[in-house]
Symmetry: C3
Subunit: 350 residues, 3 copies
């Protein structure tokens, strides 16, 4: 497509898309600014990368309105917008070639249970197994080797990648993406200790509910509730290998990075960000907008919205950084203590 085409496309998302350079050049692919070649489009949204503006071989670079590009090469044109990062994301979406995960229609080897209902345009891949009374929304894509136990509901336009497993009763919203190997709705880890030291299994009778526009990474595990629902609210993003235990509630647009572990009955608010490998003790609550640093250990509830937490046991960022500074300073403290001791000895001798 031409730069003019790109300008028009971005015009859907931005009030002003200002062209500096040629409207006619052809653009065939997006690329990183460091490696972009002729015929490719890239972007600069961060000061750190501004140095590449004068050396890039990209034919087109998306920049902020405020960037002055007069001095740069005749081999690069520019489109100026208010948010070049998001503009480039939209461009990536335009250039992305669709991934073929299952042909339209139901593969002849898919096993479809009794009483299954389906919308229009559904794709179900080879060897998928759909349990009794499942419901699959319009244009949903069920990849090869997905297994849905009975009574699972999948919303419109949702995509389940190969080898996703959903246990009975799982409810999945619209436009959800679940990557390969994730297990939704396995039994919560609940056992009642007996006097002889053994355990009796507590039946896990609830389900998992996943809201619209959620994305879940690969090999994550989201356990069903003991009673009621484990809830992943609309727009939440859950990374690979994350563990969400029974009865949790993850708020709207909350992001949880890889390998984080959320113990049972934890409630996390809206628009929170949880770092990788962070861990949560059970039965606690985080207010909206809280940020949790990677590897932090959250041992109690925090009710103040928007704060940042860090460390083990986690505390508000400012306190924790002060604490860490003091720890780094221990050597100086020790030296001072030794000096005072010497001085005190000297005084006593006098």
């Amino acid at each position: 497509m031409t730069i003019k085409d790109i300008q028009n496309y971005l015009g859907q998302f931005f009030d002003s898309v200002e062209l500096q350079g040629s409207a006619e050049w052809l653009i065939s692919a997006p690329a990183k600014i460091e490696t972009a070649q002729k015929g490719e489009v890239s972007f600069v949204a961060n000061e750190k990368y501004a140095k590449y503006l004068s050396t890039t071989e990209a034919s087109l670079v998306i920049v902020h309105h405020s960037v002055s590009v007069d001095e740069f090469s005749h081999t690069t044109s520019f489109l100026k917008v208010s948010d070049p990062y998001t503009a480039f994301v939209f461009l990536l979406q335009k250039f992305a070639t669709p991934r073929m995960i299952a042909a339209k229609g139901i593969a002849p080897t898919a096993v479809i249970g009794e009483g299954v209902t389906m919308g229009e345009g559904v794709s179900i891949g080879a060897y998928a197994v759909i349990g009794d009374r499942c419901s699959i929304g319009s244009n949903a894509v069920i990849a090869p080797h997905v297994v849905l136990l009975h009574d699972v509901s999948v919303g419109d336009d949702t995509v389940l990648f190969p080898s996703v497993t959903c246990y009975d009763g799982t409810v999945i919203g619209k436009r959800v993406v679940i990557h390969s190997g994730s297990v939704i709705g396995a039994d919560g880890f609940g056992f009642a200790p007996q006097k002889d030291g053994s355990y009796v299994k507590i039946p896990q009778m609830g389900i998992v509910e996943i809201g619209d526009d959620v994305e879940i990474g690969a090999n994550a595990t989201l356990d069903r509730a003991t009673m009621g629902s484990t809830v992943i609210a609309r727009g939440a993003k859950i990374d690979n290998l994350v563990q969400i235990a029974h009865n949790c509630r993850i708020g709207e647009d909350t992001v949880i990075a890889a390998q984080a572990g959320i113990s049972g009955s934890v409630t996390i608010g809206r628009q929170c960000i949880v770092g990788g490998q962070a861990g949560f003790a059970g039965h606690l609550e985080l207010a909206d907008g809280i940020k949790v640093a990677a590897q932090a250990g959250i041992s109690k509830s925090f009710y103040e919205p928007g704060i940042s937490l860090r460390g083990y046991p986690a505390q508000p960022m400012r306190d924790q950084l002060k604490h860490e500074a003091m720890l780094r300073n221990l050597g100086a403290m020790k030296a001072k203590l030794d000096r005072l001791e010497t001085e005190l000895q000297a005084l006593k001798v006098k």
Copy 2:
């Protein structure tokens, strides 16, 4: 069923089940005390929830004998037992509707190798692949998409959920439950470093042995031994995404929470409890009944039974809490040090 039916059912497990209220009311489902409605049964085992006793709309609440319920509503009846929590777990088992994971018999699309033996009442789901010389015990349930390599042995009444993989030689006891995506018996992570910095793979020739009544969560990984067996003893409970490396031995009725990682050749005693995301260095030993806090890092053996460990490197709880208190107190120490310095200066000037 009626409250009388429930009283009779619990009578199998408890010497005394005392009714206060109506024996005739109909009960259709269990529920949490906070949300229970008419026709539902709940329980109170914990002081924290006692406040709900006077406001719940549950038709039946299971409580301890010691609870006095005279003042409460006419819409709630009570059954009194010595352990209301366990009583409720038994009730959940009664109300639990069976999950349909594979029809009785062998699905026509299951692939059964040569020399496979099976007990009575076995279920093998669609597309399961059973290797040569496997043995499947009576009433075992092998869900769709399970893969057993050759010479795997599965005990009576064991349930393997969809997409469990067992490598060759795995031995699984009776009444075991393994949730979806778990991989049993993959190669231990063993490589011999060579002079040029590359590695030669050390063949992993052992197996994994899983005792009776073990439950293993989703997407866990239990590696085979280099020689001999990695052992999960009877009654152990392993949560989602746990890693058990080669040559480990996990003791009877030991519980390991999600995302914990046990390095090679670790021996954990009976009735231990390991918190989520805890990690173990290799070749060490824990005595029976030891409790490991979440995210702890165990770097050496602990031989005293029943102690609690915490922190990194982990130490006995009391020492570690004292240590953490001292850390929290660093600010005060620093202030005192500064004050002493000032006072000392004042003395010197005199």
Copy 3:
């Protein structure tokens, strides 16, 4: 085979393989020195196990040239080499019975897409699904239930265990081993935050490239790059449940232990060793040969080759150990501070 056979076999790898004892005894299996029986071969490479030399029932023990074995039993023979550990690894390889994961040829139930090319001697197991335009190298083994999306390339002699999933475009080298449940090439975790707090998905258009002789454990996740490639270089070894995020580069012969998590755009050098559960912040770099302790949290780049890192935030081992020693010493510091205070009070009173 006889001890003579073993001597000849090891002669391929070592200049000198010196026999002390009988060349004719029959050896049928390898075993650990503690448990080895008549007819078995074991080894001692570590001082710690030297005590077993006089008591073992093994018929053959591999030891270092320097070990004097004159005083030991007439029931044990010895082969002396320069590296008994590696010699034993080669012996394990000789004794290892091949694991049957898929019969030669293409299982009739495997689904092969259009335009797929294959070398000689390929094995593809039951229910494997191979997308359009994939290429499978000679003697590669694709186990049952593996799913390759389109345009995946698998090198010669590579083995994919059951239920491995490779997304579109994945490139895998020769002699690679990937264990069950691992997901290669799922979307990187990239979302652009919008003003209303929601996120727009950033298309992940790159791929994963895996070099020759790599081994990847079970249930690991390696995400595709946003643009370009996530690279696992030749000879790297990745353990179970490891997370490698988008755009990472893992160097040649680098070893990453279980449950470690590498955030996006991290570059790790050659011959590094990363301990279990270690975590990396994004966009940083480690030089060649760096060792990272288990559970460490790497928060910045380290450019000095060969150093060891430990702690959170991680710092060079020596600094961190000094720091930890100081922490352990806090009680003594506090006691000294209290003593100085008392002494100072006494001086002031005077």
